[in-house]
């Protein structure tokens, strides 16, 4: 396979193994330690947003991260190893949990601090000890 420019890869259509045209390649992420491409963003087509379990956005396209080991080949399109169902399952592992999925931590009950005992005795004028 020839060497390609990153600009050529961005925008390529992404096809699943069961022939679903799920979207296009978005941002590409690289680990600059060894310059290995770790993942890219899949800009999901509107019709597949719900089926992939991606969060819908009003103005921008929904994004699903795709790990590069999930890619079978890159040519005119990016061909994934998995079908739509497997893709949904595997991307869910990569995505951060949604608000509903996040474990809710019980709120700590406010514990009243014990009032500080005041040890200072207030002397009445007639009680005040005389200075020697």
């Amino acid at each position: 396979m020839p060497i390609i420019k990153d600009t050529e890869l961005t925008g390529k259509r992404v096809i699943t193994d069961d022939a679903a045209d799920v979207g296009t390649v978005g941002d590409i992420y690289v680990d600059v330690y060894d310059w290995h491409i770790t993942r890219f963003d899949l800009r999901v087509e509107k019709s597949y947003v719900e089926r992939l379990g991606a969060e819908g956005r009003m103005l921008r396209k929904s994004i699903v991260p795709i790990r590069t080991h999930m890619v079978r080949a890159v040519g005119d399109v990016v061909h994934l190893k998995d079908g739509l169902e497997e893709l949904k399952r595997s991307t869910k592992l990569v995505q951060p949990p949604t608000k509903e999925e996040r474990p809710s931590h019980p709120k700590k009950e406010a514990v009243e601090e014990p009032k500080r005992a005041t040890h200072t005795k207030r002397y009445e004028p007639e009680e005040r000890p005389r200075k020697l």
């Binding site: 396979m1 420019k5 990153d6 590409i28 992420y29 330690y33 310059w35």
Partner: protein, 104 residues
């Protein structure tokens, strides 16, 4: 592990070990079988063009390919692990501009 979005690295200035500015990163060359960035395409600035003794071209962009193996670090800028003289040494002839400059 420092993970960068490629579009974040694009546009960063590149410097040699002797503090000379080479130019800016404009593109990347990717090997899709290994999923690795093979080289960084750098648009060389005018001063570096003279120092590297590269001929300016009006028709083509003044770009060189820098292999990832000579990149030392990436942050606000891209630091190379070689000096400008060493970089010049790797560019044997002006025709080899499209040749990837990497460790020999």
């Amino acid at each position: 592990m420092a993970e960068f979005n490629l579009s974040e690295v694009r546009g960063k200035r590149m410097f040699t070990t002797d503090g000379m500015a080479v130019g800016t990163v404009v593109r990347f060359e990717i090997d899709p079988t290994l999923w690795r960035v093979r080289s960084l395409v750098v648009k060389v600035n005018d001063t570096a063009m003279q120092l590297l003794e590269l001929k300016k071209s009006l028709l083509t962009a003044n770009e060189i390919l820098v292999g990832h193996d000579i990149v030392k670090s990436v942050g606000d800028v891209v630091n190379l692990g070689v000096s400008l003289e060493m970089l010049k040494g790797q560019l044997a002839a002006p025709t080899s501009k499209k040749q990837v400059i990497s460790k020999k």
